[in-house]
Amino acid sequence: MINIKINGIPLSLEKPTNIIEAAAKVGVHVPHFCYHKELSIYAGCRICMVEVKGKPKLLPACATAVSDGMEIITESEKIAKSRRGVLELQLTHHPLDCPVCDKGGECSLQDYVFRYGADRSRFIEKKREIPVNYENPLIERNMERCVSCKRCVRICAEVQGDWVLSDMNRGSRVTMESFCGSEEECVHCGHCLSNCPVGAIQSRLTKNQVRPWFVEREAETVCPYCGDGCTLYLQSRENTILRALSDETYTKGSNRGSLCVRGRFGYDFPNNPERLKTPLIKKNGSFVEASWDEAISLVAERFGRIKSSAGPDAIGAVIGGRNTNEEAYLLQKFMRAAVGTNNIDNMARMGHINALTALEDAFGLGGMTNQIKDIAQSGAVLLIGNDAAAENPITGLAVKRAVFKKGAKLIVADAGKNSMSKHAALRLTYKPGTHGRLIEAMVNVIFDEGLQDKAVEEKNKVLFGRINVAYAHNTPEKAQETTGVPAEDIRKAARSFASAPAASIVFGKGVTASVCGYEDSLALADLSLITGNVGRSGGGVNPMAGKAGEQGACDMGALPDRLPGYRKVASDEDRKRLGSLWKTEIPKTAGLTVMEMLVAAAEGRVQALYVVGSDPAFELPDRKRTADALSKTKFLVVQDVFMSDTAALADVILPAATFAEKEGTFTNSERRVQRIRPAMKVLAGARPDGEIISLISGKMGRPMDWEPSLVMDKISVSTPIYAGITYDLLESGGVQWPYYEEMKSGTAILHSQGYDDRRAAKGEEIAAKVAAARSVKDDIKEGYPFFADIAVSLYHSGTTTRKSKGPNLVVGGPFAALNPADAKGLGIGEGDTVKVRSRSGFLRLPAKLDAGVPQGIVHIPNHFLGAGCNVLTEVILDPVNKVPEARYWPVSIEPEGR
């Protein structure tokens, strides 16, 4: 125990820390520029000097650790004089343009100068004249204002791991510049600008538009893009979002102060003038504006008519990844209770569902086993089929932290481009679709070399025996043939994974969105299990959700075969329990998945579709078939914020509200239930999704409360894993389900008390079906030597980022990235037009040369209207969850010149 006194206030500390942190604990702020708790100590700004009793000189508070009996004084005449001196030196060069500097009002230098009264410098020197750098489309650097604290340089290197910035020149001429003058490596995360204590690095999107006192409303909310669920602050004025900020305390949520380019710069789509503002009804082939009453009555009436003529199973609903838990719950309740069918699905069907069901079968609960920040504790990370730095950037930061701070060995296994490769100890590039063989070979090596966790094996002898037998046939040599990864590399990977004290697996759509997604997710669970990493801090199996609402929609039972909380439709008991709560009978037969609904729609078995917050015509494979099925649907209702490919085919379009306008909760991939709060009023004419669903339901004779907090109360009753979760509980921060009321805490790490293997003896049957599906895929390879990597780009997420200004300034259109060697072979240069052709269609795209793309792969971000990759794909379904193969597709490339 360390007992110290700060300005006479006694404080006892468990662990030694520096004086700045200790003082913050008793509410004393020690001025500082260069100190940041996430960064290494630099002690270069010299403004945090404090007096320590018994020491003749002032000491820097950031670089001095507290020790027992220390008496610290943070403010005195001596200290003020010293700080005044430092400020005067800063003001020798710092321009006095505070009135037009965007940082004015929230600038540390301004505050300290105001506090210590050093409002002008006695040093007369010519001020530096450095032109403002506008190279970056989102971030400007005005080095005249720099105080040389180097926080931007350090955060770019130590947290983001990109080393874009560096300090150039010496002494008073030091400036922070991009390394070698190139910003190619910059991922526009904006860490540098959120960390700049002065106005030297700022956002160009808000340039000259925002002053802190313009802010009328600030909301702590959750980023609506990927499954990381980052805490975000939105500031608005007169119903317009001014800017998005990260948490300055670096404590909240899963991201703890970090954001990526989508979160920090992709906030303005709620104010886009192209938002849908009034319900539209298609009459004679064109849309006519209608009143809400008219539209809702029409939907309810048509649903009612189809229900009575063709039965409730002729109606289906799909919910996307942008909707809140409450909305997903209301929609599935509407379908099950008001319509009377289980035809409800969500867009996690595009991959994530495979991981959830596999983990449920392997361990008993379908969800990421650990939490995102916990990955930073790993000794080894296997990142497979997920470009964490682009798809889930904050998870990527946790992986990087493990590498930088813990010295973890990062094994990047991916068929396509992976921006995490540069941090990897080992890069395994397998042939698309063969990741399963790679994982199996790793398990094989672990058993072969006796690297499995002996203590866990002792307890689970039968299970270990079964796993050993199951993977025995796949030796690394055999795997080398199928995957193309050298056997020695597989051995090395298996050894580093098994020998680490805690090793975690992070995977994504590269694994799950394939015909063998379920099977391979199980293999990953096995790999974690035999190395004893399940239930261990820094270990675990961590599937990454692609969209903010995917995990939540699955939790809420927006699935055809599951009720809220993953209860099974097939179980009489579960159905009865929920039925008695809802005072209705829940239909017995499992519904259709979204892929099956489209088939049924084309055949006329499904006559009405209700599409909420998603764009199947763009997202689902086989564009022609999907569009055909949607246009054959007798009555298509689309509820979205913008016009989309699907909405264009709709009979009724209902304009919905965005995340910035409504209350609700999102559950991120780490099972954290977090609240979103409105930063602006609902756009005139639009309505929150929950309200729309309840209006239709009410018209159909089943009124439902849509007030999000009331819905959450109902969820906590009907969904066992959400039991006890209320808005009051979530007020101060998110909670990871399952929540235990008696302990008043969520669960950070699942299965630490053991797990429940529920794999039925269906293994072989599934394997045969998977093999059959795979052979279908092999057939279409003939004559198509390349694989299209239908990827998620760092800058985009789909419908909403397309309408945000920031991301489009960096990546504004589609492209096809090729390995330079491949390009040379085909005679393709940077910027040439290439025709990417598959068996079913083609895309014309500008080529881009990128050495990060493996040979034989063409990387195409699938976000841009008119360049949807579903032109190329066909429908091949995974036999377990009916997940379509949608990540890699055989294509050929034809150069078309400039």
Partner: protein
């Protein structure tokens, strides 16, 4: 004695005579009231009347769109919108003072770092609608023009 005094004062209406003494004596002095609006007062230069935005002698606007006036305003009656203009300079888009909320305290003028905002001797501000009492940049600049060269609050 007291009773007699009181009796005399009562029958002679003494109190009324006392009052009328002031009335009649004032009849002979100059009036202090003014026949407004025919007669106008002399307004001192430091009077805090209607705001004005000033221009440089070359005609360009003095305002640098810093928004400090809005930050200081105790009632929040100043609304200012800015954006990035050509050459990355700060550009003033709209400037509004809602006079109905204004206290005429003059803090905005104190806050202005470039003396672009000042107050004038204008005091006849009544109007027929609320909208007309939202003074925009154009109106304020016009008021500034009226006072060009004259002494105002700032000088």
């Amino acid at each position: 004695m007291k009773a007699i005094e009181k009796f005399i004062k009562t029958i002679t209406f003494w109190e009324i005579l006392k009052g009328l003494k002031l009335t009649f004596s004032t009849m002979l002095t100059k009036p202090v009231t003014r026949l407004y609006p025919i007669e106008r007062p002399v307004i001192p230069p430091v009077f805090r009347g209607l705001h004005a935005m000033r221009r440089h002698p070359d005609g360009s606007e003095m305002c640098i769109a810093c928004g400090l006036c809005a930050a200081y305003c105790p009632t929040g009656c100043i609304k200012i919108k800015t954006s990035e203009g050509p050459d990355h300079k700060k550009k003033l888009d709209t400037y509004e003072i809602e006079l109905l909320k204004c206290l005429f305290c003059g803090y905005c003028v104190e806050a202005c770092p470039v003396r672009a905002l000042t107050m004038t001797q204008e005091y006849e501000l009544a109007d027929y609608s609320k909208e007309k009492l939202v003074y925009t940049r154009e109106k304020l600049l016009a008021n500034g023009e009226r006072y060009r060269g004259k002494e105002t609050h700032l000088d």
